[in-house]
Symmetry: C2
Subunit: 564 residues, 2 copies
């Protein structure tokens, strides 16, 4: 049964050249990470769902890939749910009969009463009055009902699973069948009404969505083994169920470096240097490292009386480049930011000049806002340090509109854009977040970090032809196979070449000469070696340069010299 | 809301030392792969479910991690299912009324008739007689029924989804409610009875289970871009929902090299050399490369009249090491292999001596079995070649009991065991498989490959203390931070050191001297640099060797010389 093979949308196969180019970028980044004192960690591809869920907002939760528990789990879960529900009926029935609270104790022998018990007494009296659950008979004709309350919490599940004594087993025969059927309908109704909750019940693991949350989890879990301040880097794939589009994939690598456990601004300084070092090492000159500070944004919001609308304000401001001043103002108005406030922003729209000029304008807007001035101070520290240290090929630029989506930045915000003339979104970003690990029970741990966008960097290097030719070089020499005897002689030489670090191959079959030459050609192998009986006897090798067509009879040592 | 962080069972976090050690093994393997002319490819972490399912047997299918489609998909699917079912009722109802086949055309206005239509007429007459589906009324009181046939095939789903005209919408009000309720109960019942089919409906993607099947898929999908024979390597994680135990994880790396597109035995020869080269490069001397040939096993089975019991026969023989001769014979008897046949195997249990002696014994068993003798011939070719080429540190050993679990091997079978004295299962394995790509529509493509067991190799190297000390070396020098002014001067030097390839760091905060020294100590940083006002003025650096305690005032160049 032949299948036409394909891969899931948003994912990619990488061939040898692509792997080599990607490795080149990752190795370059890794080398710089290590020079800067960052240590590698790796975390599992999937985490427990509760580690990831709720950390990226509703949209993020939706985009997290969930892993299904085994089919057996689902089967067991449904059986358990249904059986527990039946036991729950039984337990309550018995209890009420014992207490003398049920109208007739012969209920167990009376089909009509039994039906009433389910539909009226159990639902209304027991669940509603005794357990205070808001139930609603949906369609009594079909014995379906909704545990309304479950829509809001897990009470029903808890009741079913906990408040039941297992000893009861009073239903038999037809009655048991009916109880089961009733329980099944509850289960079905519950699934239909709670698909997302059902998903989370049948899935306890989820694929890594970014490297930051797993890092926070790692830091808390291993805090006793870690020496702080902890500088870690991590280069691993992440997965997002995003709609795939050009340059956006469902599986892609992130390359992150973060420091946790220190609030020193020297770290921000080092991250600017690190960006410069990596892009210089990649020969990608002229990138712009944009910097901003969340505190400045907070300060401005404060000054214009929009503290409570910080997000709306920054989201609008972030669009200045794209939609222009007027549209930004419009958006602010639509978010109920006052005319008066917007007027105060005017200098922001007219920011010009170098770092110093811009800072001066910002100060005039910020007035006495304590937090805003703190942001300015931080910015100036970083800028002064970088001016002293000097960047190699990048430039640092203040961009007060820079907010980035992530809400957890509390200080510096970074974003790197490709050199002018290259159409590409940001190729890196990051910032300081003051309290990421508190979600896992470790408060007051400041962190700051940056990330490199592998796929976009790849596209930029490709467009600018910046990949070194050497990185995609593979096999250096192919030995032509003239038959078993000659091939054996070749293999001796091939082995010795490999021991000397030369990538060498023997064509496996004694195919036609032309076919073998074509193979070398198609694979861009620069040399072939021909060994016939004459060469074997003389202990020589005919080395042919595929490009020039020249060929020479050489000793092994002479051949090695050429190929090395 | 603090969570106690943990990771899913069977997965691991790796700290810096572990990452470094693992990278060392992978890089060593990669270097040899490349010297042997293998090219890297990478495939997505998840494949379409149909690419993986059914390729690893029932047990494998069970162990494949499935990825849940988005919650929305599930919601939409259930709504679609239910609505389609309702339409299906409607369509059939209308059709039958039009044809005059329904007892009364006023059925739509008669509750009793409607109920009869569902429970009797629709189920029995329409589904059973017209569509030839085997339905059974489960419990008419609750209006549940089972589409029995669905247990065997997808007919019902197909009927519901295809044989329906969307125009019908005759149910209204209470009647619509009832129809919906009825459809919901069908849906619920169907889920409960078909959890595994339901799983496959709500999951279209699955995590990679090994590298071989994705490779086969890759070869077929990209066959027009690939130059054959195609030598590829792939080092990527795979995932299995196996019960975790010591040395067995749910996420682990595989390191595979395969060639497709040639039947040449020189490839088997090269794989033996490759194993030898990798383990020599890892300084792991004395590994045993065990070799066998599926054709020999087939030949023996033929000779003893157990061709049809080849699997039973090889499974039993595979256990010789563990359970001994008598138990193996017992197991063969229990699988109905004849006494006479077992008697013929006697020389097998007494195989002794070197390669040549063993081959001679095998020949005596195999007699004139064509396939068996072909296997011997292949084995001898490989052994002769390896004897000529010589291995560096490994030894090649014939092991006729070697079968390995994988059924798809058709020629050579390899397995590598750790040096004597190290208790560890196989650290590598592989073999030739003649027709892997045919499942994806490309027949007659012979392949042969080997795999390295990263985790086990790690454990062996760790036990034997074979990891080079250098690989875990991280930061070489820490600059002590005495305050912003001194720190700035330090950062100048740190930058220059990094540019010269020295892993250097500045302690980010001007913490107490003792704290900073302890930090250097705990992180095994071999040197610290102290720069106070005196040093700044003199342009010197006080370099302290953390081990010896010695310290010197040096110029930058002299310091660089020490640290390089």
């Amino acid at each position: 049964m032949a299948q036409k093979p394909s891969i899931p949308k948003g994912t990619r196969d990488f061939n040898a050249e692509e792997v080599a180019k990607r490795s080149y970028i990752m190795e370059t980044i890794k080398t710089q990470f290590q020079l800067y004192g960052f240590q590698p960690i790796e975390t599992p591809s999937f985490e427990n769902s509760e580690t990831l869920m709720g950390k990226y907002g509703d949209e993020g939760d939706r985009l997290i890939f969930k892993i299904l528990n085994s089919g057996e789990f689902m089967k067991k879960f449904s059986e358990f749910f249904i059986l527990r529900t039946v036991r729950f009926f039984e337990a309550n029935l018995i209890r009420l009969i014992k207490k003398g609270n049920l109208p007739k104790s012969d209920i167990l022998h009376d089909d009509q009463k039994m039906s009433e018990f389910y539909q009226e007494y159990f639902l209304k009296n027991i669940l509603k009055n005794e357990y205070n659950l808001n139930v609603e008979i949906f369609d009594s004709n079909y014995n379906f009902f909704i545990y309304k309350s479950y829509l809001d919490n897990n009470d029903i599940i808890k009741y079913l699973f906990n408040n039941v004594e297992d000893d009861f087993q009073v239903f038999e025969g037809e009655k048991k069948k009916k109880a089961l059927s009733f329980a099944e309908s509850i289960f079905a109704k519950w699934i239909i009404l709670n698909t997302s909750k059902f998903s989370s019940l049948i899935s306890e693991k989820a694929l890594r969505y970014d490297l930051t949350v797993p890092f926070a989890r790692y830091v808390v879990q291993h805090q006793n083994e870690i020496e702080f301040p902890f500088k870690r880097y991590q280069i691993q794939p992440v997965w997002r169920a995003d709609r795939p589009q050009k340059g956006r994939f469902r599986e892609f690598y992130q390359c992150d470096a973060d420091v946790v456990g220190s609030k020193s601004l020297f770290q921000e300084v080092e991250f600017v240097q690190l960006y410069d070092a990596v892009f210089t090492a990649l020969d990608l000159k002229g990138v712009t490292i944009k910097i901003n500070n969340r505190k400045i944004l907070s300060g401005i919001a404060e000054v214009i009386g929009a503290q409570d609308k910080l997000i709306d304000f920054t989201v609008a401001l972030d669009k200045l480049d794209k939609i222009g001043e007027e549209k930004v103002k419009e958006e602010m108005r639509s978010k109920d930011i006052s005319e008066e406030g917007i007027a105060k922003l005017q200098p922001l729209f007219e920011l010009k000049g170098d770092f110093g000029d811009q800072v001066a304008s910002l100060k005039s807007i910020l007035g006495t806002s304590e937090i805003g001035l703190k942001g300015i101070e931080e910015l100036e520290f970083i800028n002064t340090a970088i001016s002293n240290l000097k960047l190699k090929t990048a430039q640092l630029q203040l961009d007060v509109t820079l907010a980035r989506g992530l809400n957890y930045y509390t200080g510096a915000i970074f974003e790197v854009s490709a050199p002018e003339g290259v159409k590409m979104g940001s190729i890196g970003g990051g910032g300081r977040y003051d309290d990421l690990t508190s979600i896992f029970g470790k408060p007051d741990t400041s962190g700051v970090g940056i990330s490199f966008g592998l796929d976009r960097i790849y596209l930029v290097l490709d467009e600018l032809n910046l990949f070194p030719a050497t990185i995609t070089e593979s096999t250096k020499v192919l030995f032509i196979n003239f038959g078993d005897k000659e091939a054996m002689a070749c293999l001796q030489a091939v082995s010795k070449l490999r021991t000397n670090g030369v990538k060498a191959e023997l064509y496996p079959d004694s195919a036609k000469m032309k076919k073998q030459m074509t193979h070398a050609d198609r694979r861009n192998i620069p040399y072939v070696v021909l060994v016939g009986e004459e060469e074997i006897n003389a202990g020589l090798f005919t080395l042919k340069n595929m490009k020039s067509g020249e060929q020479d009879k050489l000793s092994f040592e002479a051949m090695l010299e050429v190929l090395k």
